[in-house]
Each structure stands twice: as structure tokens, then as C-alpha cells.
Symmetry: C2
Subunit: 383 residues, 2 copies
């Protein structure tokens, strides 16, 4: 059997593999981007689950665009926008549909690096060519971005402006304005991926970039961080002509997203206790972040460095020049799963290997001290 070239170029995701290692006995995992099991809003959907079987329409074929009441909920939650929504199998499928709607072999695209590898993989499956954009505390390097826009026919710019994965960074208000202006000037489509936006636990929320550049931004939202990753439900909105094409591609891909899973998300978003759930989640992650952060400072002191975060799920830990790949491998042997920074660079790209990504949302609070002790052993052994 001869395989297609692009498909063969696809590596197994390091993240998916480490998540599988993370389920070994005795292992403590700070690897995945999983919500805290104890904070999953299961009680808010118990009744919805129990009554699913009462409605046979939920079990028949449905609309490719999505379950109508869920689409209406999304419209109500974004009153400033008139752009249509499309329900996807997680925002990951949104990325895949964007790639297939917009990209052809060789098309240049820009993405902040390090980056969420799932996005890069979806884009690279089309044969697109990645231009890596460096970024700092306030967001991407605007000079480099403009240079790319000037010198290449850039098809899209993929960005995670709120609580970037893996760095946890948030673009400043000025960066948002500047990026919108650059995209508009050069006619580049902006992909604003916002899975973590609602996980802000301190600081002030900033407007999404889509509001500054509505005519050519495609926005992705996820219900995997505030709701349930296991259902695989996400959504995207964008210009009507794009959403119509993405819907036709989705038809050829899987007809539509399953209805019962959309019904559960719809009931969750409309549950009167949903705002309380979000507040509890933010409070819980604030505590978990502070807990991990103080353990890191106490146990590792000068050996590590990290910028504070105001939300999201991750600390981007600098190892002061040590190799993240080696520390992560040693940590695994000490029964601690973490992801080396180099795993967030596209295949073949120059990877910066002096970080590891630590998740603080999923790790049992009682295990954090021991987790950091294992990390300290992994780092210490390399001295």
C-alpha cells in the first residue's frame, strides 16, 4: 500500500504519546492540557444525559452547520458579531477545516513559535509552508510579522492571543491593534484560536482581535477547557462565505457533529449555574497555579525561571540553559511526565530546547509537592 506524501510526513504527536505514558501507574502527569477532573461540570449535565434517550431526533442525522439551539446560544453570546458559526468536532477540526478550505501545497503561513503542534500539523497536512514568528511577553515580534507579510504571499496568520500554548502569554492591547492593522493592510486572514480565553484568573480581559478585524478573522472556540474535552465539541465563526465552504468540506468529512454531544454542551452553556461553574474553575486554577508556582520557587529557586501567568493551564519553565528534552526524559524515569519545549516546534524547524511546559490545571493538588521534588531530582541529576 503506497501512502500519500503529505500524510507520511506526519509524525505521531509527542503530546499524545506522552499522555499515554502519563497513564502508567505511579506516574504524576503535568504533561497534558486536561481540565481538573474534580472541576468537570458533570452535575450540570446529569439531567441532560439522562433525558437524551427521550428524544429520537437527537439520534437521527442532523444539520452539518450544527444543532440549531447551540448555534443560537453562540449567537446570543457574541452579540457584537453578525458572523455565522459552524460546530466542529473540537476546535481541532476547525483548524483542519480552515487548512483544507484555504491552503494549497507551498502556501506560506505564519504562526507564533513555539506553538500548539496540533495546529501546525493540521496546516502542514495540506503542504503549506510555515514561517515561524518569534514572540515576547507582549506578543509576537511585529517587525518580523510585517517582514513576512511584505515578502511572502502569506495565506494566514495563526495566533493564540490569550494564554498561548505553551507559553501562557497574553497579547497586550497595543499588539492586538497593531496585528489587526498589519493583517488588514496586507490582506492576511487571521486565525484567532481561543481555547483558554475563559480561563483568566487575574488581570483584565482584553478584546479579542476578531473585534478589531472582523472582516477577515476566523475565530475558534473550544468547550474542552471550560466543559468536556471527551465530547469533542468546538465551534468557529468567520466570514459567511468561508463558513459556507467549511460546512461543505465538513459534509464530505463526517456529515455533521453528533447531536447528543451538542445537546449536552447546549444544556451546559444554558444551565443557570454555568457562570458559577466558570468562576469556580477560574478560582480553582488560580489556586493550583499559585500552589505550583510557590513549590517551584521553594524547591528549585535559581535553577529555573518563568513569567507569571494570569490564566490558562500552563507554566513555561525556563531551565536556564539546560536541555528541556533531557530533563523531560529524566523526569519520566522519575515518574513525572512533562513536555519538553522542543515538542512545540514543527518538524524540521529550529527548536529552542531550554524549556519545559508544566500543566497546573489537571495535577492533583496533593501531588504537586512530590511532582516538583521529582522535577528537582531530574534537574539536579543534570548538574
Amino acid at each position: 500500500m503506497k501512502f500519500a506524501r503529505q500524510a507520511q510526513s506526519l509524525n505521531a504527536s509527542y503530546l499524545r504519546e506522552i499522555l499515554s505514558a502519563a497513564s502508567q501507574p505511579e506516574m504524576i502527569s503535568m504533561a497534558g492540557g486536561l481540565p481538573a477532573a474534580s472541576l468537570l461540570p458533570l452535575e450540570l449535565v446529569r439531567v441532560a444525559c439522562a433525558s437524551l434517550a427521550d428524544n429520537s431526533l437527537f439520534f437521527q442525522y442532523g444539520s452539518s452547520r450544527g444543532y440549531q439551539p447551540l448555534l443560537e446560544t453562540l449567537e446570543q453570546h457574541s452579540p457584537q458579531s453578525t458572523q455565522p458559526w459552524l460546530i466542529c468536532n473540537g476546535s481541532q477540526q476547525g483548524l483542519d477545516l480552515i487548512a483544507r478550505a484555504l491552503l494549497e501545497t507551498g502556501d506560506p503561513i505564519v504562526a507564533e513559535v513555539p506553538a500548539y503542534l496540533g495546529a501546525l500539523q493540521a496546516f502542514q497536512l495540506t503542504g503549506a509552508s510555515l514561517l515561524p514568528l518569534l514572540s515576547g511577553a507582549a506578543g509576537p515580534d511585529l517587525d518580523q510579522l510585517e517582514h513576512y507579510f511584505k515578502t511572502a504571499a502569506v495565506k494566514l496568520f495563526y495566533a493564540v492571543p490569550d494564554f498561548h500554548n505553551p507559553t501562557g502569554r497574553v497579547w497586550s492591547a497595543e499588539t492586538r491593534v497593531a496585528v489587526a492593522a498589519l493583517c488588514r493592510h496586507y490582506g492576511v486572514t487571521l486565525i484567532e484560536d481561543s481555547p483558554y480565553r475563559q480561563l483568566r484568573f487575574s488581570g483584565t480581559e482584553l478584546s479579542p482581535v476578531s473585534e478589531l478585524y472582523p472582516e477577515q478573522t476566523i475565530s475558534l472556540i473550544s468547550f474542552s477547557k471550560t466543559g468536556f474535552p471527551g465530547l469533542r465539541v468546538g465551534a468557529m465563526s468567520g466570514p459567511a462565505e468561508f463558513i459556507a465552504l467549511a460546512e461543505r468540506i465538513k459534509q464530505a468529512t463526517d456529515l455533521h457533529t453528533g447531536i447528543p454531544q451538542q445537546v449536552i454542551i447546549h444544556r451546559l452553556l444554558n444551565h443557570q449555574q454555568y457562570p458559577d461553574h466558570l468562576a469556580r474553575l477560574q478560582q480553582g486554577y488560580r489556586n493550583r497555579y499559585h500552589h505550583l508556582s510557590s513549590e517551584l520557587q521553594q524547591q528549585l529557586g535559581q535553577q529555573i525561571e518563568f513569567d507569571p501567568v494570569e490564566g490558562g493551564m500552563f507554566i513555561w519553565l525556563s531551565l536556564n540553559g539546560k536541555s528541556g528534552t533531557e530533563i523531560a526524559a529524566r523526569a519520566l524515569s522519575h515518574k513525572l511526565a512533562v513536555v519538553p519545549g522542543a515538542a512545540f516546534y514543527a518538524k524540521g524547524a529550529t527548536a529552542e530546547d531550554s524549556h519545559i511546559r508544566l500543566n497546573f490545571s489537571n495535577t492533583d493538588t496533593a501531588l504537586v509537592r512530590e511532582a516538583v521534588a521529582r522535577l528537582a531530582r531530574a534537574i539536579g541529576a543534570g548538574c
Copy 2:
């Protein structure tokens, strides 16, 4: 926003559009391939739905390969095979993953025509080039198939050997042996799509072609015809190297199929009353088929012709030279939705327009007489 060439070539599915027309008030639909609402096995999954919220693991990220207990059930149900399974969002996603794993622009593929358009769309999104294969009552034209295999570097042969959509045909045992031999001789991958295989209500079951050519057949099964289309759960099996690649593509596409929907299918397949459900479904569809078939003969007599079917969901009705497209349009104005035969040909292909496809699984039995009367008016008006 500039769209990718292949994506733009994708038409909205006529079938999806007529299904939307079919939901208008007063409309009787014989258009879709929906299971009978009254025969959906909702009672067999009521407890499974009600207990979903008890298990937080069902709502966290899961395995790209699929929910392990469901994979084990599939292995137990196919004891003759050692090939691995991959769970997909309906078998439609299996088709898409096959296309992306195997096909590149310009690759020749063979499919029986008329054909399930969703399959052709998934293949054509990769830019593959379709070689249309004619078929008769016993299966495809073997001379034409060998001619294609001899003269083109055919990448795959897409086939629905059991209760083909739209024709309802079943390949004879001889055809199965001959196709397996031809594929083996020319090294062509066979895609055996079997959504209707378990809907046999008369005659004798024949072995799947995959058993005659296990080394290079990819088998697709669906839970949308025997279970619930609304959940979007299907599965495929094939050579281990192919399934491993398809799993990596699936990771980049949507990470994994949602777990609660897989749990529901797992409980359905393992419910002690599942065999009774299948028997009831087959009996129900036998009755519905005979009912429609005798109404057609009584009300339309010499104006139509059709081969009897032994299962599936469809009658492929010959209009004795009249245009299926015109009759279907006139039927719509008489509040009857049917699909014209021409809708089952790829865009740009020479379509044979003297048939319509009638679904008998979903139409309320009490409405069948009136449905056929409307069809008779649509046909009569064209005399």
C-alpha cells in the same frame, strides 16, 4: 479570502439539501437513508445515557484509536480477522481518512457508478481522478475493472458489495472471488464499505470480500443504520500500517472520536437484546419494503421497473426512459421528496438520468400509499 482549489470544487451535497427540503410541513420524504424512528434502539441505551455523568473519564480526552472496550467488542465480532480497528466519526470520516492517507492529486481511483456521493466527494477533495465502473445485477463489470487496472495506476477501488447505495444490489459470490483476484493481481487496495450489510431481510448472506483479500482491503462499518446516525460513530479496519497512519491523520483532524458516543454504541452492541433489535429491524424493513413494492406495482404498473432487493434501505426505480431529475422536481411540488438518479454521479461525470432512488426504511407505513400516489401524479404529469 482566497479559497483552495480542491475545496472550491466541492458542490453542496444534493442529498443534504433535499433532506433539508424534506423537513418542510406536509412533505413526505423518501429521500434520505435514515433508519425508522420507531425502530431506533433507544430503550437499549437509556441506562447507558443516564449513567454517563457518573464517570468523569468519559468526559476527559481519550485515545485516538478509540474507546478500548468498543475496540475489543469489534475484535470479538470479527474473530476471523487479526487486523486492527480505528473508531471514526461515522464511516464518512473513515472515507476521508482513507482518501488523505492514500491519495494525491491526479491519482486514478475506481468506483461503481452510480455511487454514494459522500464517498466520491471525500476522494475528490484530494484531487484524485475517478474512473467510473458500470455494474449490473451481479456486481461490477469485471472486464472494465480489469481494463482500468491494466491501463492506469489505480490507487484504490471503492465498492459497496452488500445492498449498494443507490441500487440496492448485492455482488454474487463469483464476483467477490473475481474482484479479490483482480485486486490482488494488480496490487490495488480495495475499500469495502458495508453500512447496509446487517440490514439483510431475505436471501443468504455472502462473505465479505475482505475475507478473500485481507492483506489489502480496508473495511468500513457503520453504526448509523443499525444504531444511531446522530451519534456519528463508525469504524474501519485494515492493514496495521495503514491504520497506524490513519490514526495519526485523525489526531491532526480532531484528536479522537468523543467518548460518551462510543460508550453508548459499546453498550448497545453488548446489550443482551441487541440481536433481537437487529431481527426486529430486519423484519420491520422487510415489511416496509414489501409494502412500498406492492404499492408501486399497484399504482404505477408498467410505468416503472425495479429489481427486487434482499435488504438495505432503497429501491432503485427505473422510470422507463423518463428523466429522474424532472420527476424528482415535480414530486417535490407534489410534496414528495425523492432523489433523482443523476445525483449519484460525480460532478462532471456523464450521469444516467432515468432513475430515482426511493427509501423505504424511514417513511411512515401509513403514508406510503399517499407517497406513491404523489409519485404517480409526478410521473403521470410527464406523459
